[in-house]
Symmetry: C2
């Protein structure tokens, strides 16, 4: 039996799958933060190139992937799909576990799938520079990499505490030629206003978003770029699931359940949406999003309109949210610390097409260590949530006397998260239960919207 299933380079998907075309009802409109009326393409034009805005609003089922983007994706795609036979033995299950491995991209996660597409469209429309924010650095390094490939300058506003504590993601961005500033900076009004109140501010993702948006809005040659949540980002990630479908065919199996971790929703959507299409067309498959108990937007959030950022500058979107001013505890899966969920994922959850589960971080690290020692790859802390959910699915199947086919997305490697593993081994990793009171407080602050 082969260990992994590889596709040829000419099997990189030729289109992105847009699930908007297959939804039972149209998605809720995106609202202007001031007027609370639906936004128009013109409202978004200062921030995004027109082709991205069209993709954001398109209901075309199959969006062709430009040759230039496929050529850039070919630097690491198609990514391998593994049968995790050694891991199955390690956890003692009779279920068949498969994983799609996205850590083979140069920045080490699934993020470049959309970064190269966004860089391509920006370069094509004459944009010279892209501005973005990053927390721990996964997204910033993906965009730095993509900018290098398409000859675009990239400016990254990196949350100051991460800038100081996680220097190697920053170094990686430098290696690809990006400029990286610790946010808050004195380069924007948003940054200066924060620094005026607190010159030693640690920064936050919300502040960094405000700075990147302002940078783009105030420079003609510059656009803004986001690494998750939005429809076009999820669209670009569907290459993952499409490849996985072909690879599962090679393996001669079809998954009973597809699992991915969930933060903003891009890696979950990447693997799950093409299978959701199958499900809509009558196939039996469960789609499970695994999130941290400390930041449980899908399992504990409310489904309503909220801002995408902390300070309330972005448009309002209908999503599962813990409230835009909810500040999640400092877990190591930085990519899962987001108060909301992608509007598309939220709608699929609302329509009953997908499920969500939540796990505390220590149990996830335990699963990740078992995985490392059997399959060899050391997972990112984010991805460990998918592994933990996989272990639980396998155990349930074993208890029921069934053999399930489980597919999960290993969204990235943990080469820049080894300090978190150290803490886990030293017994110093804290578990955070569901922060009910903080969530209730921030949900009480949700903006009131009448449609």
């Amino acid at each position: 039996m082969p260990i992994k299933y590889l596709l040829r380079e000419d099997q990189i998907p030729r289109h992105w799958y847009n699930i908007l075309a297959d939804l039972k009802s149209p998605p809720a409109p995106v609202l202007h933060p001031g007027t609370k009326k639906p936004v128009t393409p013109q409202d978004l034009a200062p921030l995004f190139p027109m082709s991205i805005i069209e993709q954001e609003m398109s209901a075309q089922r199959e969006v062709p992937i430009p040759d230039e983007v496929r050529h850039a994706l070919a630097l690491w795609r198609p990514s391998p799909l593994y049968r995790a036979e050694r891991f199955e033995k390690a956890i003692g299950t009779r279920s068949h576990v498969y994983y799609k491995y996205e850590g083979v991209s140069p920045p080490g996660s699934h993020k470049p799938n959309t970064a190269v597409a966004q860089a391509y469209y920006n370069a094509k429309e004459g944009v010279k520079r892209m501005a973005t924010e990053t927390g721990a650095g996964q997204w910033g390094s993906a965009l730095a990499f993509a900018g290098a490939l398409f000859g675009l300058k990239v400016t990254v506003y990196m949350v100051r505490i991460s800038f100081e504590q996680k220097p190697y993601r920053r170094s990686m961005m430098h290696a690809w030629g990006a400029e990286v500033f610790p946010s808050p900076t004195d380069r924007t009004n948003a940054g200066r206003s924060i620094l005026a109140k607190d010159p030693r501010s640690n920064g936050s993702l919300g502040i960094a978003i405000s700075e990147a948006v302002e940078d783009a809005a105030t420079h003609d040659d510059t656009k803004y770029s986001l690494g998750s949540v939005l429809n076009h980002v999820l669209l670009h990630q569907t290459v993952i699931g499409q490849e996985a479908q072909e690879q599962m065919k090679m393996a001669g199996e079809y998954p009973d359940v597809v699992i991915a971790c969930h933060g903003g929703g891009s890696n979950f959507s990447g693997i799950a949406l093409p299978f959701a299409r199958d499900k809509i067309n009558g196939k039996k498959v469960r789609l499970v999003a695994s999130e941290p108990t400390s930041c449980p937007s899908l399992t504990k959030g409310v489904y309503t309109f909220d801002f995408g950022d902390t300070v309330g500058m972005t448009p309002l979107v209908k999503m599962h949210t813990l409230g835009h001013d909810f500040m999640p505890p400092g877990i190591h899966a930085g990519g899962l610390r987001y108060h909301g969920a992608a509007p598309l994922v939220s709608k699929l959850l609302d329509e009953g097409l997908i499920e969500a589960v939540a796990y505390p971080q220590r149990a996830c690290f335990e699963a990740a260590v078992t995985f490392s020692r059997s399959e060899g790859i050391i997972p990112a802390p984010e991805s460990s949530h998918a592994i933990k959910a996989t272990v639980e699915e396998a155990r349930k199947a074993d208890a029921e006397g069934r053999t399930r086919v489980i597919l999960f997305n290993l969204s990235g490697h943990g080469h820049f998260d080894l300090a978190a593993y150290d803490q886990y081994f030293a017994g110093k990793l804290e578990d955070f239960e569901y922060p009910r009171e903080a969530v209730e407080r921030s949900i009480a602050n949700l903006p009131r919207v009448e449609l």
Copy 2:
């Protein structure tokens, strides 16, 4: 034109190529450090399992790769071979540049190719634990990974200064379940004797080797493992070149020149030996080893008998050496800081089958940054020496008005070397010229051997 050439899993080579079978004359004997007489298999039995000792001394041309080893290699092999079209454009050459990428292994370098083979043979002969040394951690993490796959305990003696300054390689070894000690330790006589003289010793690779060898020699259930230099290690690496030969066929080209960086010789041999076989059989191909000017064993060393370690505990081997007590300057390519060269590589150089060049580290980092920004992968500082040599070959070809086909081995990624890139960008990286006086002093100390 495809960007990369992928082989199927069933195309992982079925044998290792042993160039000993094709040498013009037999290799020089390996001498006992005390008697200076040729060592016997029995002399080596306390350190290595018998199947490894047989491979070390075998002249069998094609050594079958056990299924269990191929199954472990399949976790990341066959590794991709890329056509570096973007890099060709970036350096403005008309030559065709290809690279074989070994950074896809979980530990991130070519080292696991031999680590899994060694772990397999040790496990098969009932060994319970393997002891080894590591400098910056590449080899130690490869053996930790391999030990996890074959159920062996792994003890790593890590040079103390690296243990403290490079914590993430250490964390990686922990993630795979190995125990890691800062060397010198108080666990061995060798370590205790050093600590008695200098309780705050930074350690050295020579001391760490002594500790690992002593640990193995004094424990019945434990053997020693080495990650370069020896014949069996080079043998295990020949999967690289064999795969590259198939992939170059897919590309419809044959290399005019094959390039790899050179420290102990395992990554150079991995790609070069199968092509050396072609050369012996009449094919026209140049094989170039690229080493640092600061530690130029092949370009400036003498070809004679010397110890493999610093303190003179190991057998004597005939090799290009700068003298076993030569201490190379602290360049960032830690894997190239070795006073000698593999006996096999040395013999090939002596027979004129291969060439050697040397470059200072700043020029190598410059080439690596150009490579990162065009091909996306951030190279290990060691591998950057192969990239610099490739740039020089391409420039020479352009100057001659020729189009050459150049293949180099990208032996690993630089995810754990980003501090070195930071120093390069900050202009703080020091170049070390050939340390002539230090080399002359240590060459004067070479042991006298009469055969």
